[in-house]
Structures are given as structure tokens and as C-alpha cells.
Symmetry: C2
Subunit: 264 residues, 2 copies
Amino acid sequence: MATGRSTQHNPNPAGGTRRSRGRGIPDATVARLPLYLRALTALSERSVPTVSSEELAAAAGVNSAKLRKDFSYLGSYGTRGVGYDVEYLVYQISRELGLTQDWPVVIVGIGNLGHALANYGGFASRGFRVAALLDADPAITGNVVAGLPVRHTDEMEEIVRDERVSIGVITTPPGAAQQVCDRLVAAGVTSILNFAPTVLNVPDGVDVRKVDLSIELQILAFHEQRKAGDDLADEDGEVPSAPAAAVVSGRGPEQGHGYEEAAG
Amino acid sequence: MATGRSTQHNPNPAGGTRRSRGRGIPDATVARLPLYLRALTALSERSVPTVSSEELAAAAGVNSAKLRKDFSYLGSYGTRGVGYDVEYLVYQISRELGLTQDWPVVIVGIGNLGHALANYGGFASRGFRVAALLDADPAITGNVVAGLPVRHTDEMEEIVRDERVSIGVITTPPGAAQQVCDRLVAAGVTSILNFAPTVLNVPDGVDVRKVDLSIELQILAFHEQRKAGDDLADEDGEVPSAPAAAVVSGRGPEQGHGYEEAAG
DNA sequence: CCATCTTTGTGCACGCGTTCACAAAGACAT
DNA sequence: ATGTCTTTGTGAACGCGTGCACAAAGATGG
């Protein structure tokens, strides 16, 4: 959910076998590894030496069989009758996720959200380093945010090249997102985390993940409505034949939630 | 899957058939409806009267067959040989998602991120109204953020009751998230959007969706590493017995959200 | 060394989601 | 009215993900 399956990431555009060998880990598993890692890190800090699949699954909020199968893709790292070695597993998962190396990232668009992300502790905590903050607005560039100067987007290409940035975070207004994305990709970025409410088009080989508050809220609203509807009687949602036309034709009384964000 | 599928939301805990009748819309479809809605709204603003599944699918970044099947769950709203009526579809999807009514939400935890969300335009734009901003820190309460006063969490229960809030957004530090969640649920909230990096335990009937920047980045890092690894040879990672500690030691701020089920 | 007990690792079946491919439906021209 | 052309709506096949249930593996005690 949240971010539901939230990947806009054409899995297999032209028939290339992606999970070819044993090295291939299912996407669903990859998405859960960070969850396990977090739970394991907490155990590690409490100096817990080993943990069973049952305990760890409970801490991560998943089914224990699923967890065991997930780990089986990484290898046989458990000991039957005992469980998993916490430290060892922390290392293995970190390595598998690529967190044993340093990932410089750039954040483009230092508005409210970019500001918040720059200050987010989770960045530095695990292998991710903010290489630069970028913005196109001269009124913002030069400011110091989270100890870093905000630099102008003109410097993007240079920074990406010199710092070997491969991950970019887009927190611009929706209208600027595609353009920023194109420039990032052209400069060499191959992974993008997009917070702008826009569908990004990228060439093959570039991964895009999106985080969209508005979508998450709408999904919750759907379920809320369903819950409320279940309490009432059947309430067959069949439109009484007229309102459809009414909506199409006259947009009067329908409390038009008229304009959404302009640049969809 | 980002926001990978990002729902922590036990689909079918006790065998209750969820998609029982025609009214049941698959989760995957629900997650895409907001995407279609956004694309349709953009078309609507450009006064485009109709759109084909092919065009709309391209705008939303999905397969056209998938889009048609998604719409088929809502009913037969298209016209063969022509396409879909944009305005009509906007209304139907809005209604299905429950956006024709007003959803008051509370945001708990007005730090950097809560601040950013309060200012986020996407909130007010589609049926969502910020009923209150809450924080436990007396140094923050009283401040005005996005035109609203930050109120103390002591008032949570009263506000949720009086304003009929059913959706809560948690942007607290991880240590406080579960406690805030419990209070929200006890007060009557039945949908939660969680930005804190914590697994929330909630009773049946409460929906939780999570947005986790750290997880998204780690998933991207995995794919980045895989891309880089494909170029290089195999690089077998034998553990030198120690490095786990090196990784773990690094940072402590991941404050142990200590109490899930303590070692069930 | 053997028996017992715990916990992993996985074979298997099932259901959901995706995609293809095509028949049915309607628009439009003649 | 009839034929052609476009586009929808959906049947069917396939693949992925999930969860059950159990055999294999190892620890532990006598």
C-alpha cells in the first residue's frame, strides 16, 4: 500500500527475463527486506543474539512462512531448532540491499517537502548521503537547509557527475517534475524517487518509485466509504439514471470541487 | 509496489469473502483509480470531451487493457467506437472513491514533515479538509501553521469526536507513533496514514497505509546495486565475521520502537 | 549414540492481477 | 439500410505471491 504497490516501473517491457537465476529476488521480497532490517536493527540494539522466524515476523508485521521464504531467497542463513543470528542477518540483508556502500542522493525542489526530507534523519542513517540540495528559485538558492547550502539547478549536471549521484529525489511542483527528471537522467541518475503528483516518463534502465500522499488518502477514503456503506443497508450504488446526465451537463449544485492542482 | 504495495492491511484475516459481489473492486484497481482521476481532471481542464482507453492509459502510465478492465469494475461507462466521456468518468470515479463528500483529517506531529503536509495543496483540493493539527510539544502548540493553530494532543479525542474525523495522519517520531495510533483509534478514527517508520498494530476494521521514505530508498538502492553488479562479475560476499557490527554500530537514532509484542 | 524437540526450508495449491486476443457494440459514411 | 471502422468489454491463460503443512536438519539431553 502505501505507498501500495507504488512502483511505476515497467517490470518487463520487452520480455527480458528478470528473475533469471538464483540471484533473482522477487520484488515483493525486496520490498519487505527493509522492514526486516529495521526490526532486526532494533533487536541488535537490545543485544538479542538470535530470533526465530515467528518472533521476527510478529515484529515486522508479516506472516512467518512468508518471512522464511523471503530469507530462503537470500540463502540458508538460519539454524534449525534455533532461529536466525541477528547480527549476521543484519549484515546479509544490508549487503543484499546495497547498504554497505554509500549512496549519494540529490534532492531537487526545496519547498516544504524538500525541506522536511533534507532534515529527515532516516537519510543519513543507512548508507544514504545527501550530496546536494537543488532548487531553481533564486530566492531559495543560497539558503542553508539542514546544514547544506541550496544550490541552483544549473549545477545539477556537474554535481551528479562529480559526486557520482545515481539516486535523485524529486520534490518539485508537478509542472517541473518531468523536466527535472529528464535532466537528472541525462546527467546520469538511474533511480528516482518522485514525490510530485505526476507520471514520469523515463527510458529503460531507470527505476522510478513514487510517493503520493494524495493517492494514499484517496485509497483510504474509498475504504472508509465502503465501511460506512456496509453499516447502512445494501445501498445499491446504482445511479438513479438521471444524475449521470445531470453531472455531465450542468455543473451547478454539485459543490464543484472544481479545479484540482493545475498541472496534473 | 512502492509505496510499493505499501499497505499493511490484512486483506482477509478470517476468511470473510471481501470481493463478494459486483460491488467489490479489486485493491489493485482501487489503487489506480486516483491515477486515472488525475489524468482525467487534466483533460477536463483542457475541455477534452472524450478520451480513448489507449490515450488515457498512456497519460496514466498503464496498460490500456488494464485500464479497461479497471473501468469495467465500475460499470460500462464507455462508448464503443468513441471512448469515455471525460466529465462523466471524473464524476463516477470521484463518487466511487468517496471524494464527493468531505473527509476531515487530523495531522498528528507537526515537525518538518507535518509542517510540509499541512501546507500541501493536495489536501484541500479533493474532498480532504484538515480539521486540526496536533502536537504534544508545548513549544509547538499555539503556533500557526498553514493558517491553522497547532493544538495539543490532549484535545485529540474531543476534536475527533466533534469533527467526526475518520482519517488520521501520523507524522510523529517513531517512538510515539503506536501510542498516537492507539489514541486515534480509541477516539474513533478508522483509517490511518502512517509516515513514521514503525509497524502499527491496529484492531480489525482499521485500515493503515504507510509511507516510508527510508524503505523506498532502500528498494531503489537494491536495484541500483543490481544494475551495477550486472556490469561487474559476481562479487561473492563472504562475511569476514565482523562487519555486521560495523554496520549496526553506525547510528543509534533509530530509537527502538521497543514494544511490539515483546518476544511473543 | 540415540531419542526427542524445536525450528527452518520448501513443495504444493490457491487466488489475485495482468495481459492477450477477440467478439460485440456502436459511430459514421455511403 | 448496410457495410466498414473504431473502440470497448471480457473470456481465458499465465505468472506471481501467499500461506499451509510437513519433512529435513540440527540442537539438546540422557
